[in-house]
Amino acid sequence: MRNSKSERSGYLFILPWLLGLVLFTLGPMLFSLILSFSKWDIITGIKSIEWVGLDNFKQIFHDDMFYQSLKVTFIFALVSVPLYQIVALFTAMLLNMRSRGMHVFRLVYFMPSVIPAVATSMMWIMIFNPEYGVLNRALGWFGIQGPAWLQDPHYALGALVVMGIWSVGNTIIIYLSGLQGVPEDLYEAASLDGAGIFRRFVSVTLPMISPTIFFNLVMGIIGGFQYFTEAFVMTSGGPLNSTLFYNLYLYNKAFKDYEMGYASALSWILFIIILFFTLLVVRSSSMWVYYQGDEERD
């Protein structure tokens, strides 16, 4: 459908977003790009912005904390992105069963995502409590002596990963909505061909929900690299900087040290990193994402 009329209506339909991009998004992005080449002690107001060229970037590459926060963030993203996807997809498939009472289960699994992240974090501080926490008590039943979780530099990051599993409700919902779009007759046809559960999953479910997987993967990458609130509330980056996430370090630079220029430079480095991984997924998508509606690539 590529003719001039269709082109025009295409632009017309994305117009709301395009306008929003120009009006509300590009400006602040550009501003922060300029800031990344400047020094700005923010509490002194905009008149004190001062161009310093590449100084921020030069400093960043000699900054130990930069490398530490990068390491923490990469480990987290590498583990949590695939883990959360698998857990969420599996749970969504269970919740997609047709059965009485399933709506109650859906509600239960969705509940954690309704609680504000700050309240969730407070709750988990109690759960991870080495002595009184629910988690170590439960481990105790199996004869396992649980670690000090958030207070142990070897376990704190792992604890945050575990906690994240609890709140994958949003991802579950998106998978559920993707699963709803899989026509039932495809399963029936596969069943008639003698396909078992696993076979049906691989040859019907996976390709049909590949657009949803694509979506969740991209969003997972973006979210994983920008992990912030829980670490901010629960560990403030400790112990021994073992949970110093990139965005947490960036926030401290901007709002504790007031070095907004430096923080902006940090943010654009993160931008490039996320962009790189997203492009990797987008470029590979032609090989594994199947759209019923068209054969176009992303």
Binding site: S9, Y132, L150, D152, L240, K256, D257
Partner: protein, 429 residues
């Protein structure tokens, strides 16, 4: 096709206008009431604290027909972020509250207006109504930048029930640190290899550590906060820190480790549930303690064997925004908010101590638990954050080193040597 897209745009515009009207309406200020000067002021705070400021605002507006003040409290969680953002945009309130840890920093950045000129012109208002140490606290580089809202000196708090049970005498004003250690040893109990109660909390919070260092004649920085070498890692500091961490280390410890403390819900919960007998902290702790059934008392923080005793006054000061448009009026407001009437109102229910001499003396005569707390003011010294713009660098490195030491990742000497080196190299930049 065209018709549809036009109507789509129309719907969106209509919705936009609608939302603009519904919210815009309430924001437009009344106007028409002459040439009133409009001021805003902000505090961090919870629901309970805001009520007093609301009342003070109403009274101020009544007493000053030419000024209209609006009170805008900010949730404690977001105070730093919000104030920073509004200062960056030049939209900050005319008067705002600053904590003692930020006094120097805000002055250093030129964000806060010095009040000396206004005070000089004002014959009706004298600083000597305030507690001297407190005013001194708010005097930076020889100028008065802040006036007090409230304050919290550090003191020693003890759990009476635990002392009674051990048939021991309560801490008194002659205690040295050795007396405290001896008592703490008796109050620490183990059952089956597990600690069930601790005598004292030697935690990782830097304020009590500073007072301990001062008692033994040392500090983490030189007086003007320009050097760490020989201070943060000086022999006296290393020796004092070794003694300090020994309290919470090893099988003979008398203090919970930071991990233990977090495990048991923080030092105040441990204290309230009779698992901790003594701790050094600010008076704000009373708010928590009074809600529980714990029996507690307060005493002077112990002195060193040579008689040196130290404390820190945590305080909140009112500041006039240096970029504000109506600074004279803002000064009037600060005066009102820190004045005698305001102090009386806020301290009437015992939640905070009054900053004025006369009212403070009245409290001292009446309140047994507040007496040592108020006396601790006389021993107050300024931590490095209140002496230098480099303060945050010292604190960051020092607390980082402490964390390493307390998690047994490094010896005291090594960690402090490294921290001192880092501070000095960062300051040079």
């Amino acid at each position: 096709m065209k018709k549809w897209s036009t109507s789509l745009v129309m719907v969106m515009i209509a919705a936009l206008i609608l939302s603009a009207c519904s919210s815009g309406g309430s924001s437009s200020s009344g106007g028409g009431s002459g040439e009133k000067v409009k001021l805003t002021f902000s505090v961090w705070g919870d629901v309970n604290a805001a009520a007093d400021e609301v009342k003070l605002t109403e009274e101020f507006n009544k007493a000053h027909p030419n000024i209209e003040v609006k009170f805008e409290p900010i949730p404690s969680d977001g105070y730093g972020t919000k104030l920073t953002a509004s200062l960056a945009a030049g939209q900050a309130p005319d008067v705002f509250l600053v904590g003692e840890g930020d006094y120097y920093k805000f002055v250093d950045k030129g964000v806060v207006e010095p009040l000396d000129d206004y005070l000089k012109k004002d014959t009706s208002f004298k600083l000597d109504i305030f507690q001297k140490d407190l005013i001194e606290n708010m005097n930076i580089k020889g100028k008065q930048y802040y006036l007090p809202k409230d304050f919290n000196p550090l003191a020693l708090w003890y759990n009476k029930r635990m002392f009674d049970e051990a048939k021991m005498e309560y801490p008194n004003d002659n205690w040295t640190w050795s007396d405290l250690t001896a008592a703490a040893k008796k109050l620490t109990k183990q059952e089956g290899g597990k600690f069930t109660q601790f005598g004292f909390n030697a935690g990782k919070w830097e304020y009590p550590i500073y007072t301990y260092l001062w008692d033994y004649g040392t500090d983490i920085a030189n007086e003007d906060g320009t050097a760490a070498e020989g201070y943060m890692n000086g022999d006296k500091t290393v020796a004092a820190i070794e003694k300090y961490v020994a309290w919470s280390n090893g099988p003979d410890r008398v203090s919970p480790t930071p991990t233990d403390t977090q495990t048991m819900g923080g030092d105040s919960s441990m204290f309230m549930t009779d698992k901790l007998a003594m701790m050094v902290t600010g008076r704000w702790i009373k708010g928590d303690l009074d809600k529980s059934d714990v029996k507690y008392g307060s005493a002077l923080i112990p002195k060193s064997e040579d008689g040196t005793r130290s404390s820190i006054i945590a305080s909140a000061g009112w500041a006039v925004n240096a970029a504000g448009k109506h600074k004279q009026e803002a000064y009037e407001l600060v005066k009102w908010l820190s004045g005698t009437e305001a102090q009386k109102l806020r301290s009437s229910n015992g939640a905070v101590l009054p900053a004025t001499v006369k009212e403070l003396d009245e409290v001292k005569a009446k309140e047994v638990n507040d007496k040592p707390v108020i006396e601790m003011m006389n021993f107050a010294k300024k931590p490095v954050t209140m002496r230098s713009g480099n303060g945050p660098i010292f604190v960051e490195q020092f607390t980082g080193a402490l964390e390493k030491i307390m998690l047994n990742q490094s010896t005291v000497k090594e960690a402090l040597d490294e921290a001192a080196k880092n501070v000095d190299s960062k300051i040079k930049k």
